[in-house]
């Protein structure tokens, strides 16, 4: 049976080739080639532009290990990624549950649209609108002071919480969508079966629903954690001075300092760290899923 299937799939590869080719061609041109160039740059002393002299070096990678600043920032970014992912779970999972299991028909479509909306708006617009909300004398400050009888000062702008808020807002739809898909596939009768066996709603949630939606939680977390660790736009605009993270340093190398080799090396170190983290987590996650 397994042998037959294997033969069947090998036979199926040749006719599938014309279908696969465009995607692989595109991946090669758009990702593999530029990335290879970046790998190459990361081992150079300087960019080979304007006739400058250059040589191969490991110095860019050594810089990461010789200056504690980079590893400190990397840890800050990993922590940021972890916190944002956690908030996305806390906010996104219940929303996905309500969408998948509570709402039906029209109201589900309407709420779904609201969840997807951040996807369709420009990233910069999104971030600057948060800046208007969070700054002193901004929308949040004014609204709270209009309601509350005492005077409070809300100035979240240029702070760690502002960075978190902005990032969570940008990435929570990923969590909602991935969790929605797995939650929707859970048969309602499983929930009823759990309760008929004496489990409270909370026990059914922990023992049946969450384990069964683990694939969605894991996929959502991976989709959020990886880009957040390398994020630079939200930290820079909403974080101000406190918004220096690993991603912003890489951006600086490319945009401000014009030290592409160092920027490339720092990027690949980040990629390696992320891959190591995912590899270490894989056995645990596989068991959970």
């Amino acid at each position: 049976m397994a042998d037959q299937l294997a033969i069947g799939s090998r036979r199926g590869l040749r006719p599938a080739l014309p279908l696969l080719l465009p995607a692989y061609l595109w991946l090669t041109v758009a990702i593999f080639l530029p990335l290879s160039a970046m790998v190459f740059f990361s081992f150079m002393t300087d960019l080979p532009l304007a006739g400058k002299d250059w040589a191969f070096t490991l110095g860019n990678y050594a810089a990461f290990f010789s200056q504690s600043l980079y590893s400190t920032l990397l840890f800050a970014s990993l922590r940021l990624g972890l916190e944002v992912t956690l908030w996305c779970v806390v906010i996104g999972y219940p929303a996905a549950y309500v969408l998948a299991k509570v709402l039906k028909g029209r109201s589900r479509e309407a709420i779904f649209l609201l969840v997807i909306l951040p996807f369709w708006s420009n990233g910069l617009v999104r971030i600057f609108s948060w800046a208007m909300v969070l700054r002193e004398g901004g929308i949040l400050d004014t609204a709270l002071n209009a309601v509350l009888p005492f005077k409070i000062n809300i100035d979240l702008m240029y702070s760690y919480p502002a960075v978190i808020i902005g990032l969570v807002h940008s990435y929570v739809p990923y969590m909602v969508l991935t969790c929605y898909l797995t939650l929707q596939a859970i048969d309602d009768s499983l929930i009823e079966a759990g309760r008929s066996l004496g489990a409270s709603r909370r026990q059914v949630l922990w023992r049946v629903i969450i384990p069964l939606s683990m694939p969605g939680l894991i996929a959502g977390s991976a989709l959020i954690f990886v880009p957040v660790v390398g994020s630079f736009m939200e930290p820079r605009i909403l974080g101000g001075r406190t918004g220096t993270f690993y991603g912003t340093v890489i951006e600086d190398q490319f945009v401000a300092v014009f030290n592409w080799p160092l920027g490339a090396a720092l990027s690949f170190i980040l990629l390696a760290v992320v891959l190591i983290i995912l590899a270490l987590a894989a056995p645990v996650l596989r068991r959970a899923g």
Partner: protein, 354 residues
């Protein structure tokens, strides 16, 4: 273990009355079938008893305790779902252990009880499998073991055999009945399969459009249906409609049919008679004057269906097609088109008020 009382329960979904003033008394330890076509309210009634849904009015008690405000998980019921609803991420043993484990029973007790339950459904060795590795019949057994391991007061089954093929279904009917007897649990079984209801249950409740049509032991409902619907839904019946005479009915063409069982209907009122196809004698010659088979009708065979141990004859008579089932005794078979005489006893004729 406990009996279940449903008293004057009504439930509407918008304008649709799913249950309309239903009252049934499910005695302790009995095996009940709730029988009805789809949309008759039988599953709705089961869900009220389980606590997945609540009645708009009326009372439900389990073991004498009113359960209106009791959530599902506190009702101590066991339920088997139509699609089995096994937890796909858990092994067979973990599925069965679920109810005990959420109760916080010690691990050793759980293991012993799970093994006993799996032995009872004859799956003692499959505890380590995942549900997707089991056949339909095996999944059914796991669902049953999971539902009874917690020692519930009532076992609720929602068309549990609907997804199985015919041969397996008959096996599971016997098996289910054996297990129910063994643990003596009050069982309420929803089905649309009349044969299943007849063979398995001590009592049957027939539902139609949210109302309880008739309730009683299978023999009683089969032999003395109180409505045309009950007569035709549980088994086959020939229905004659006319006016009551006091001892039977008079058909529009003047023929009288004597009936000695069923309702008492005042003379002159609209009424009908039901006769089971297997109670009718069919013959070619002139009818002998037999007081035991006092009801006679002339007709013509329009069709014969041979089914091995019996034959079904369709007999045309005054625009009505009557059904007669004759056991295969080796006697001469009747040809299509042949004129025949049908005769049957007033004792086999049930009078039904219109």
């Amino acid at each position: 273990m406990a009996g279940v009382q449903v008293a004057n329960v009504s439930r509407s979904f918008g304008a649709h009355k799913a249950l309309d003033d239903v009252s049934i008394d499910f005695a302790d330890g009995g095996f009940y079938a709730l029988l009805g076509p789809s949309g008759s309210g039988k599953t709705t009634l089961l869900r009220q008893i389980a606590g997945f849904d609540f009645p708009d009015s009326g009372r439900i008690t389990i073991g004498g305790e009113s359960v209106e405000r009791v959530p599902v998980e506190k009702r101590r019921i066991g339920m088997v779902f139509q699609n089995y609803a096994l937890f796909p991420n858990m092994s067979v043993a973990d599925n069965v252990a679920f109810g005990l484990s959420v109760r916080g029973e010690p691990k050793a007790t759980i293991a012993a009880e799970v093994q006993r339950a799996l032995d009872l459904v004859q799956l003692g060795k499959l505890g380590g499998r995942k549900p997707h590795q089991l056949s339909g019949g095996q999944r059914q057994r796991v669902a049953l073991a999971r539902a009874i391991v917690t020692k519930p007061r009532v076992l609720l089954l929602d068309e549990p055999l609907g997804a199985l093929d015919k041969a397996l279904r008959v096996d599971m009917q016997i098996e289910l009945k054996r297990i129910q007897r063994e643990i003596g649990i009050t069982t309420i079984f929803v089905t649309h399969d009349q044969e299943e209801a007849l063979t398995m249950s001590d009592r049957i409740g027939i539902l139609r459009d949210g109302r309880l049509v008739q309730e009683g032991p299978p023999e009683e409902i089969y032999d003395r249906p109180q409505s045309e619907f009950a007569a035709t839904f549980l088994g086959d019946a020939n229905i004659f409609r006319g006016n009551a005479t006091g001892s039977g009915i008079k058909l529009p063409d003047g023929t009288t049919i004597a009936a000695s069982t069923g309702a008492s209907v005042p003379a002159g009122a609209r009424a009908s008679c039901a006769v089971r196809p297997e109670r009718i004698q069919i013959s070619t010659g002139a009818a002998k004057a037999d007081p035991a088979n006092a009801n006679t009708l002339k007709g013509q065979v329009s069709k014969r269906i041979f089914a091995g141990n019996n034959s079904t004859y369709f007999v045309e008579r005054d625009g009505q097609t009557l059904k007669v089932i004759v056991q295969n005794t080796g006697a001469e078979r009747l040809a299509e088109g042949q004129p025949v005489v049908l005769s049957w006893s007033p004792d086999s004729t049930v009078l039904i008020a219109a």
